[in-house]
């Protein structure tokens, strides 16, 4: 990283309770522009819950979620769910992929640009009349979709029905769809789950490319340590909803608390670096 770090998202004292169960407990950290911030932790640590709070699917029990957009500070916990995406520029993917399965790949990406297109179609009036203003906007939307399809290697599948894609392609399509919204912060919930090692390595390159070219922040939940350790600028470790560590890959790897959380009391071996350490890998079926 060169230059000064620009804060993008400040999470302060985020707490989420489900009657009795504290899924996220007083969590604070900051995600920066042009950085990849990974959130890791054993199953049930509360990672997906953090995303659901950030994107308005859950209303946090306590805490402040501030998106810093230029001079403005947007408090996410006070915004309506869909506005967090449209106004604050938060885009996300889901742990169990949520595509518009019956629609084509291209249509999925066009739907992601709904708000811009809706404005250009003057709430459908210009669109119904086929005015050039709307047609130009639609062409631009298709170009943007084409750009991301190219980037994610899905261009040959553009006219496929999304539900018919192989699993790896579906995951990448979901990322492309999130990127088509033109986000400030991209939240990815286990993007490498179910990918083979080659696909997973490609994903690393892709995420680094997005970080550098688009200048956006990425928040990444991942169990695959080869991804996390390889590309993260900052890692936040959760255990039972509490933050137990926060730092660079090297710091996290050496942190005894992290090792204990992952491997239990008895084992004290340091976390294996880079390769095939799939710690606690599993895909439990949490919704969203």
């Amino acid at each position: 990283m060169s230059g000064e770090r620009v804060p993008l998202l400040k999470i302060e004292h985020l707490t989420m309770r489900f009657d009795g169960l504290v899924a996220v407990d007083d969590l604070s950290f900051t995600a920066y522009r042009r950085e990849i911030t990974a959130i890791i932790g054993p199953n049930g640590a509360g990672k997906t819950t953090v995303f659901n709070c950030l994107t308005g699917f859950y209303k946090p029990s306590a805490g402040r979620l501030a998106m810093l957009a230029g001079d403005e500070t947007l408090l996410l916990e006070r915004m309506e769910g869909f506005r967090i995406a449209s106004d604050a520029g938060m885009a996300r993917t889901f742990q169990n992929v949520r595509l518009f399965a019956g629609m084509t790949v291209l249509e999925n990406l066009i739907v992601a640009q709904h708000n811009a297109l809706m404005a250009a179609s003057l709430f459908s009036i210009a669109g119904l009349l086929g005015l050039p203003r709307y047609r130009a906007a639609e062409r631009a939307a298709i170009e943007r979709a084409r750009h991301w399809l190219d980037r994610l290697g899905l261009i040959a599948r553009a006219d496929w029905v999304a539900g018919a894609l192989p699993y790896g392609d579906q995951r990448r399509l979901e990322i492309a769809r999130a990127l088509c919204t033109g986000p400030r912060l991209l939240c990815l919930d286990e993007p490498a789950a179910g990918l083979n090692p080659r696909e997973s390595a490609e994903l690393n390159t892709l995420l680094l490319g997005i970080r550098d070219d688009e200048g956006i922040g990425i928040l990444l939940i991942e169990h695959d340590m080869s991804v996390v350790m390889g590309i993260s600028d900052q890692i936040v470790v959760l255990d039972h909803g509490r933050k137990i560590a926060d730092g660079t890959a090297a710091e996290i790897r050496a942190d005894p608390k992290v090792i204990k959380a992952y491997l239990g009391e008895e084992e004290e071996a340091p976390l294996p670096a880079e390769t095939e350490a799939h710690i606690g890998f599993s895909r439990t079926g949490n919704t969203c």
Partner: protein, 432 residues
């Protein structure tokens, strides 16, 4: 499974025997015994064992033949798709040609040699249901919101026109835009309370909404005439030329203006073209809006509401727009219905109507415009053909629905046309 030498036959016979036994057990009390009045309020019992025997034999033969045919069918190469699917695939491939032929036929219908007043009337009824089907298709097929009370908007449209005509002297053409507007408002009124509901819950609330509208119409006698309905609703005019034998003072009738002999058929033909035009407008609108952001958002909402929200789409607006626009077309159709009949009463807007319209959409294949036409023709004309065996009409109707849902669970012409394609890049290597 090991099959003994005599296997296939003995298996078939055993299966048919079991079916016959079940049939016999059921037929014995239901068919075999008949109570009759022996006078003085007492009942006697007659037996009909011959009928029981016929039932048993029929079930045995039917089951045997069915299994036999299935077995023969299975031995054929797997490439042979079921006939219904093959017909549907053919229809989808030739969609453009079929549309043109169908449209030509619809336009020419009143002037075909075999055409009659009865046929044109039937065509008008079919087109009303086509229009209603297309309208409901927006809500159910595109937006995926199961609406069992669609007839409410049809009723609102009809009564709006009738009341505007009676109280404020509106003509059909003046009232038409307003009926759509009022029906759309009712769509939004229905939409608000059901924003959070989906699937079965939504279906039940919309069903209730349909009944509420009907009951209000029935009981608000001062306004709606209650069960007596509203009569003497003005007929539509041809650019303000009335269809009448003797035009009122100071006006010319349609026949006089064109120097024709008066014929009551003129109005029937005119009504036919009016509903054809209204239906075509509905279709044009739907096809067009499917390619616009709203239409795509409807479909996206049907696919996954949570993903929609995560993309910054306001689900409230999307749902309300679907309800409003679907209701608007229902309202137009209602106004047409009122002017065609000249008389409306709550009896025309029962749940049965909602069920028929929904059946047209589901049977045709959700979201398929051509499927709606096909299903409307089938459902509206079938009872006409069935007049001979009127008592069994509902039975045949039900059996046909079950059969179609078994063989074509997605509907007759279920196939979704993508709303846009990525045209091949000029420089890209040509593939396919």
């Amino acid at each position: 499974m090991a099959v003994p030498p005599a296997g296939p036959w003995s298996g078939l016979v055993r299966d048919a025997l079991v079916a016959a036994l079940v049939a016999g057990l059921l037929a014995l009390p239901f068919v075999g015994l008949e109570t009759y009045d022996i006078g003085g309020g007492a009942l006697g019992i007659r037996t009909h064992f011959d009928r029981v025997a016929i039932a048993i034999a029929a079930v045995f033969a039917g089951r045997f033949l069915y299994r036999l045919l299935r077995q023969l069918y299975r031995e054929r190469p797997p490439s042979a798709a079921p006939p219904l699917a093959r017909i549907a695939a053919w229809g989808n491939r030739r969609a453009a040609a079929i549309t043109l032929v169908g449209l030509g036929f619809a336009l020419a219908l009143p002037f075909l040699p075999m055409s009659s007043r009865y046929l044109i009337d039937l065509g008008t009824t079919v087109l009303i249901y086509v229009m209603l089907g297309w309208g409901l298709n927006i809500v159910v097929g595109l937006a995926g919101l199961l609406d069992l009370g669609y007839v409410a908007f049809y009723a609102v449209g009809a009564y709006t026109f009738a009341l505007l005509a009676h109280n404020l002297g509106f003509t059909f053409w003046e009232a038409l835009p307003l009926t759509g507007l009022v029906a759309a408002s009712f769509g939004i009124i229905l939409g608000f309370p059901v924003l959070r509901l989906r699937g079965d819950y939504l279906a039940i609330v919309t069903l209730g909404f349909g009944e509420i509208i009907r009951i209000v119409l029935l009981n608000w006698s001062a306004m709606t005439g209650g069960p007596n309905g509203i009569s003497e609703i003005p007929r539509p005019t041809f650019f303000s030329l009335p269809f009448a034998r003797n035009a009122p003072e100071g006006t010319t009738s349609f026949a006089q203006f064109f120097g024709l002999d008066f014929s009551p058929d003129h109005r029937v033909i005119f009504l036919y073209y009016v509903i054809l035009a209204l239906a075509l407008v509905t279709n044009w609108f739907t096809l067009r809006i499917r390619r616009l952001p709203v239409g795509r958002a409807w479909e996206a909402l049907r696919e996954d509401e949570i993903a929609c929200r995560a993309l910054g789409i306001n689900p409230t607006n999307v749902k309300l727009s679907a309800f409003a626009i679907g209701a608007m077309f229902g309202g137009f159709a209602g106004a047409f219905f009122a002017t065609r009949q000249g008389f409306i009463s709550p009896e025309s807007f029962t749940f049965m109507e909602s069920a028929t319209i929904l059946a047209i959409v589901v049977l045709g294949g959700m979201g398929s415009q051509m499927g709606v036409v096909l299903a409307a023709i089938l459902l509206v004309t079938a009872p006409e053909f069935g007049r001979a065996f009127a008592e069994f009409r509902m039975l045949v109707f039900g059996a046909a629905m079950v059969a179609i849902m078994v063989w074509r669970p997605g509907g007759l012409l279920a196939r979704r046309e993508p709303s846009l394609h990525l045209e091949p890049r000029p420089t890209a290597a040509q593939s396919r």
